[in-house]
Symmetry: C2
Subunit: 295 residues, 2 copies
DNA sequence: AGCTCTTATGAATCATTGA
DNA sequence: GTCAATGATTCATAAGAGC
């Protein structure tokens, strides 16, 4: 079954009104950070940031399934020698709004932005705040297991990974099953620290996060054909990854420029005009998925 | 000049009254976490934690020099499926108290505690919150430079470190100077993410943090003969490291057992009885350092 | 001295049981 | 009902033993 990828231009607080309650399985996004420069993209002042975000997170809360997750990649700026507090204030405010602050994952940026300042070192990490609607949510831990440390490394090196795979496929059963058990033993569950390099290629659009970041969380918190939302889609990295993983995705961005970029990346062709979109999504009772009226 | 190391038994909020304003260059500590170490410290309830800590941080603010730093190693616990908020509430409250929240360093625990739960992975990081009294504080960035990655490693390996040193000592100048310059070129400033393994050996005293943690911050934020305070000294790791780095140190712990342990580690011999301590520290006007009346 | 293999041990968290 | 105690689960280290 082919999965859908939709890109909407507009403010997510308005565009999401098209969607019914309890619809998405995962919301993952890297919103525009608070910035004093009002003219730049996003440009919300730090003092206004919490209130601005709460309007939108209220809608996220509505459209997220009870078993769903909301992953918020964010990092407060340093200004006038101090870290801003709007992110931690946002955490407290979102709990008041009804969210559970389930976990804080750390994205360690292995290659972070260069620079030198008298009062701080280079900032090599960002928060990936994990919010949920309930204590029982979907989490596929096995989908993101990682090779174990020294123990497995040594064994793999002495045997040769290709040898293992080849032998396994040739034998078929018996020893193959042992290999499988042993291979499972050589994997461990990851921690709440992600070591990912930023993608700083020469590409024209600079993604907010590397593909590996949405990849990891989408595998972890959704199954195939689940629905993934990025309400600040930017150049469409989340959508691209989600589509590649066989998930249905919706991306929203306020800038037409970004939407067109994402449409080319994700859909591979110019998209229909905005006016052709249906005004409201209607839930299909049988599948639980929305039907969109044809233009 | 020999440096001093003092260990006081008592509640730091009371013991610090002995010390004058603007005395310490660095306060670095890992306080008892909420609801942890109940059998030793009595476990402060999460709801009471902020108020409990603010009483003490007020005193820290008083005894810290205007150019000094306060490094707070802490991590909120997870309970009933959610992360507690007392740490981020503490940050906001300490700013109200007059602190600047200058930076948040991440200690990535390479070997974290094992375990498996349906809703989270192993917790592999802790916060090292950096507070200051002013925007101009002491920071010796050069003292914590780290070897660059593959580039320098490969060169050093191909040449052999001993070869470099030997050649340098034989030649004396010229090439030796080039070597020194080249070595400096192979060093880079670190980031705000520290990768340190916890020391979980078979030793009888389990430190809250590995020696490398206070080592790094002491080098970064103090000079030799500066004064370092750990108001929750525990087994005395901070004091041990500070003394080894030629800094004067004061450690305070409420448990006699820990104080005795620290005294043996740091002072190398049983310490004088508590009753023999002077009641109040008196500042020596010439040196700016406190004189303690002999018992 | 160098290896490999074994074992103990952590600032942990959640589900279950018992008062 | 709530609250405290216990067990199950799990992995990167360092020390120790054996060759």
């Amino acid at each position: 079954m082919a999965v859908k990828a939709e890109i909407l231009q507009g403010d997510c607080v308005e565009e999401l009104r098209r969607y019914p309650d309890d619809f998405f399985d995962l919301i993952i996004t890297s919103p525009p950070y608070a910035d004093r420069r009002q003219h730049t993209y996003g440009g919300i002042k730090p003092e206004q940031y919490v209130a601005w975000f709460l309007d939108r997170s209220a809608e996220f809360l509505r459209v997220l399934k009870p078993t769903g997750s909301f992953v918020l990649n964010i990092k407060e700026k340093a200004e006038n020698g101090e870290r801003h507090t709007y992110v931690i204030e946002l955490i407290l405010a979102m709990r008041q709004q009804g969210w559970l602050w389930t976990e804080e994952y750390i994205w360690h940026k292995r290659n972070c932005y260069p620079g030198k300042w008298p009062n701080r070192f280079r900032d090599a990490w960002e928060r990936c705040l994990h919010f949920t609607k309930s204590r029982k949510f979907k989490m596929n831990q096995d989908a993101v297991m990682v090779p174990m440390g020294d123990w497995a490394d040594a064994r793999l090196k002495s045997l040769g990974k290709n040898d293992v795979v080849r032998f396994d496929s040739q034998v078929g059963s018996g020893f193959g099953k042992n290999i499988a058990n042993w291979a499972k033993r050589s994997m461990a569950y990851p921690t709440n620290v992600l070591h990912l390099a930023t993608e700083c290629g020469n590409k024209n659009h600079s993604a907010a996060f590397p593909r590996a970041l949405p990849d990891w969380f989408i595998k972890l918190f959704t199954d195939e054909e689940d629905w993934v939302l990025d309400p600040f889609a930017g150049s469409g990295t989340t959508l691209e990854v989600a589509k590649g993983l066989g998930r249905n995705t919706v991306g929203i961005d306020i800038l037409l420029e970004y939407c067109e970029m994402a449409r080319e990346t994700v859909l591979g062709k110019p998209y229909q005009l905005l006016e052709e979109r249906a005004q409201y999504a209607v839930t299909n009772k049988a599948t639980g998925k929305p039907r969109r009226a044809k233009a």
